[in-house]
Symmetry: C2
Subunit: 227 residues, 2 copies
DNA sequence: CGTTACGTTGAGGCGAGTCAAGTAACGTGG
DNA sequence: CCACGTTACTTGACTCGCCTCAACGTAACG
């Protein structure tokens, strides 16, 4: 649980290859690396809770992290799923002193953790850092707006089809996809109950989608686009 | 429609008082003002369409602008409603060369329009501009994540209650609110059909909510919190 | 005062959540 | 390697919330 590791060579290599870090110049990179801590969390570990004082900005190195909110009755809704290379809490760099959601490891994960205040200061001083922050914030807004639109416009089978098509190489007639995580997590990402995801998959069978465990065969990509 | 206006004194005063501009230092402000154009649009005018080449970044000076997406059958879903002081398309400053949604004037609006490429360059050169961009992106992410969570966790009456509570002064027992726009627009903002909003309001009557046109009386704020 | 858009109300249908039961996959320890 | 327990996933039956369509009432505006 929450084993804190020294930053070894291998982790350093992985971290610096992440999109967020790879775009930094040598000086900005060095200064970012000063304040980083690499942590490991086991499945279902909670990284932080909604309402707690916001202290860290994260980059996922390995595994998947769920960001979710609770309503009064305790029902959970995922607002974002972060995988390798994704960052989260960049939206707390200005304006906001508490976490707006909970974060939980969906499986064993490795994350790099930065001090929010230090990154905030660095973004002021290092052009590269400011640019990188703007970039990941932009990406985050775009993907979140996409989620809102899909939630409001698409049925369950359509959401699944959209997800699958987004993970097919462009211009292919058939494809084979391996889900990078459990179906439960995919259901949450798409705003569905696990049962609804299951039913969506079986309704997609008639469009040539075969599911066996995490392996998904798509026999006719263009048919899937018609859903 | 789309009457282009010279930047007069009054508009300049309004523009520089907007949150996005007010935080800029004199030099950054001056350079931003070089590339700004103030436009007026009539109700239902389309500012841009999904898929078009992205060219402008906007700040609303007056009125409300709908950002929405269409599905294949032509159904519309609002992803964001922008009012006075709000900016949009800041998420296109990096990564993204086409608009991801449509923009339409929900009523007669005045908007300030900046050239995306110029703002992008300015954000590189002027620390103030970078800071302002990061700030409005952060705000945008937070509000959009909130929308996702509310869509997935709340029923129609709860969404309306949340909206109303967000527009009450804190620590009041009763309140009176005037909607800043049509109910149709509020329905879209909350991800509801207009009929569903209407029904939500009438179900809130039992919680002490009275509606007459755009005027909403809340007799018991704490009762509304229990919804 | 008529026209038009906006808003409300009712009836009906569909999509997805919930609950419950059963099956499959997985990991653990004997 | 097998027996077991746990967790993930599937399927069915049911409920509920919201969308759709249609009709009517109402406010806004020329």
């Amino acid at each position: 649980m929450n084993k804190r590791l020294m930053l070894n060579m291998r982790e350093r290599a992985i971290l610096t290859s992440m999109p967020f870090m790879a775009a930094l110049g040598p000086q900005a990179l060095a200064r970012m690396m000063e304040s980083v801590v690499v942590n490991h969390h086991e499945t279902r570990d909670v990284l932080f809770r909604e309402g707690e004082a916001a202290r860290h900005f994260y980059c996922v190195l390995n595994g998947y992290v769920r960001l979710y909110r609770l309503n009064r009755e305790g029902r959970e809704a995922d607002v974002r799923i972060c995988g390798p290379g994704d960052t989260f809490n960049e939206w707390l760099l200005t304006a906001g002193d508490t976490y707006p959601c909970n974060a939980q490891a969906a499986e064993p994960v490795t994350v790099a953790r930065f001090d929010l205040a230090k990154v905030r200061a660095l973004a002021e001083e290092e052009r590269d850092v400011a640019r990188a922050v703007i970039h990941c914030l932009s990406t985050c807004v775009r993907s979140t707006l996409e989620v809102v639109a899909n939630d409001r416009l698409q049925t369950a089978p359509q959401r699944v089809a959209t997800y699958l098509l987004g993970h097919c190489p462009a211009d292919c007639t058939s494809a084979s996809i391996r889900l990078p995580f459990q179906k439960t997590l995919l259901a949450g990402k798409l705003g569905l109950a696990p049962e609804a995801l299951s039913r969506a998959f079986s309704s997609l069978r008639q469009a040539g989608v075969t599911v066996r465990g995490r392996l998904i065969q798509i026999s006719d990509v263009s048919a899937l686009r018609q859903i």
